[in-house]
């Protein structure tokens, strides 16, 4: 017998179910199918928290949840923002940043990324003094033209930076009112949409890259560290 010849009876010669039984087979099929369709509908509407949705479903960030403590920053010290460094962990880079390797600056997969930062109590005792945050920042790819990046402290927009493909140092003053009593604040950057290296014609990498952050430094508004500014 050739594989594609003959009737189905000849190929699959088992007795067909009787006509009277057929309705029960079909009914069972409908019941199972209804269950499966219900599950598919539930799969479309997961009951999960925001962390889960952003990480597992939307793949918006490589940090599932903030992990570990947000380190206290010392004024005047330059902090590389990389995997393995104190500012390269999921405690700080918890929204939108990608930190693949120890020797590579972190990059953003989203247009909007957030850093969670904390200053030493003596820098801003009970939120009474402003601090200046300096970021060494660029935009992917290296040839990118400078475009405005909105800088937000908490929910408030404080400035806009023209960020291009070359690393530059940008500074923003964080008003004392926006620093919490424990010295913590969040710094959000809203830039142009990220672009995948593949779409930029550079290599086969399909994951989008937006802003690239190399290092972060903190200082007082006077340009001096508080320790030196004190009488």
């Amino acid at each position: 017998m050739t594989p594609s010849s003959g009737s189905s009876d000849a190929l699959y010669g088992a007795p067909r179910p009787r006509r009277s039984q057929r309705i029960w087979w079909l009914l069972a099929t409908v019941v199972v199918l209804a269950f499966e369709l219900t599950l598919l509908w539930l799969a479309r509407t997961p009951r999960v928290d925001d962390h889960y949705r952003r990480y597992f479903i939307e793949h918006a960030t490589t940090c599932y949840r903030p992990m570990g403590e947000v380190p206290v920053l010392t004024p005047g010290e330059r902090y590389p923002v990389r995997k393995g460094e104190s500012l390269g962990n999921c405690g700080v880079l918890w929204a939108g940043f990608y930190s693949p390797q120890p020797d590579v600056p972190v990059s953003a997969r989203l247009a909007e990324v957030t850093l969670r930062l904390r200053v030493a109590p003596e820098v801003s005792p009970a939120g009474s003094q402003a601090v200046v945050v300096a970021l060494e920042l660029s935009r992917f790819p290296d040839s990118a033209a400078a475009l405005p990046v909105e800088v937000m402290i908490g929910e408030q927009t404080v400035t806009r930076w023209p960020v291009g493909g070359r690393y530059e140092r940008f500074e923003v003053e964080v008003p004392a009112a926006l620093i919490a009593s424990d010295g913590s604040f969040s710094l959000t950057l809203k830039g142009p949409p990220p672009i995948a290296p593949r779409d930029a014609g550079l290599d086969a990498n399909k994951f989008p890259v937006g802003l690239r952050l190399d290092a972060l430094t903190l200082r007082s508004p006077l340009g001096l560290t508080p320790a030196r500014a004190q009488p």
Partner: protein
Amino acid sequence: MNDSVTAGPRSTLGERFKTLAAETPPPAEALARAQAVRIPWGHILLALLVTRAVWLAIALWGDHSYLHAMAQFDGSWFKGIMTRGYDVEARGMSDGDAANWAFFPLYPALLWLVTLGGQLDPELMGVLLSNALLAVALGLGCRYLAITRPGAPLLLFVWLAASMPYSFYFSALYSESLFWLLCLASLIDWRCQRTGRVMLWTLLLSMTRATGVFWVIAMGIELVARLRLRAFAELWRRPDWLLIGVVGPLGLFLFMALLYHRTGDALAFSHVQISWGREMGNPLTNLIEGLSYWQSAPETLRPAWQASMALIGVGLIGWLGVQRRWLEMGLAGFTLFVPLATGLDAIPRYMIGMPVFVLALHDLLTRLPRTLAWGLVMLGALANLWLVENWYDTVFWLV
């Protein structure tokens, strides 16, 4: 004139392909062959004992714990499911983003049963369970060979499956041997048209591994390939086939219901794959990129080797297609290309975990002179010893 020149080789090639086409017996004949075959149980046990004894000797020689090694990597996830069930939230591994949702429930459920609810040593019982499942699977494999490849050398199949490269997975606390058993059982009963049993086996298959879902799709491919458009009309007359189509993936849907209850996400088994770096992409791009490593960075062996294995898999799929073994071809195709879309990791394991790849390899070996075929099986067994040694050394690319 030109037509006549080109028509000759074409028809010759077509005729050659026709001679390779396998005969598929009608169900009554398949049943008769299945009942008539004498399964070489003695050889199955001998092959398992000899190969496992050699692996054990390597472990003792290298001062490794055989049982502990067989329960590493995914085995530890299965043990975790057996003892504490499915995670409510992700917290595992260094980034705190891993959970045991990627591991399907049937194997850990069996592990729970054979350890009497966790009272017996899970590593010992798991190794015994996996090997017992493989012994039954090999028996079923012989039966399936007798149905679809009458006269095929059963002993060659038994020794090939028991000793080939990567066959140590069948001894580990992995679900490969269970998957083999269920897949071969469903293939046998499909050929014999015992559709009630097919429903049960395929349901269990989709509770064992995600690739179990592809069985019913492959069944659809066979029906369309053999009946053409009549297949759709036939579904109305054969509602039992229709029911197989929805009961086959039911195991997965039941697992999804469990995950929805535990985590709130019915697709958690798929979403959690990101913790292992797996994201959906283009399988051909992944394959070509992996192969390009041979040229661009030959020192980076892992992706190049895995892509090469995938390429062998593509060849075996084509070989099954040439033989018009549509169901087997469909199963092999989905088992290779869907994981390949998410990356090259564990591709050899996906291939070895699907018995139709080994059947295709066996088909090729049976076309060689007997001595050469057995020589190649021996060579494969020796290559596997090197892999076993690496497995004991917890080499990560064998996960």
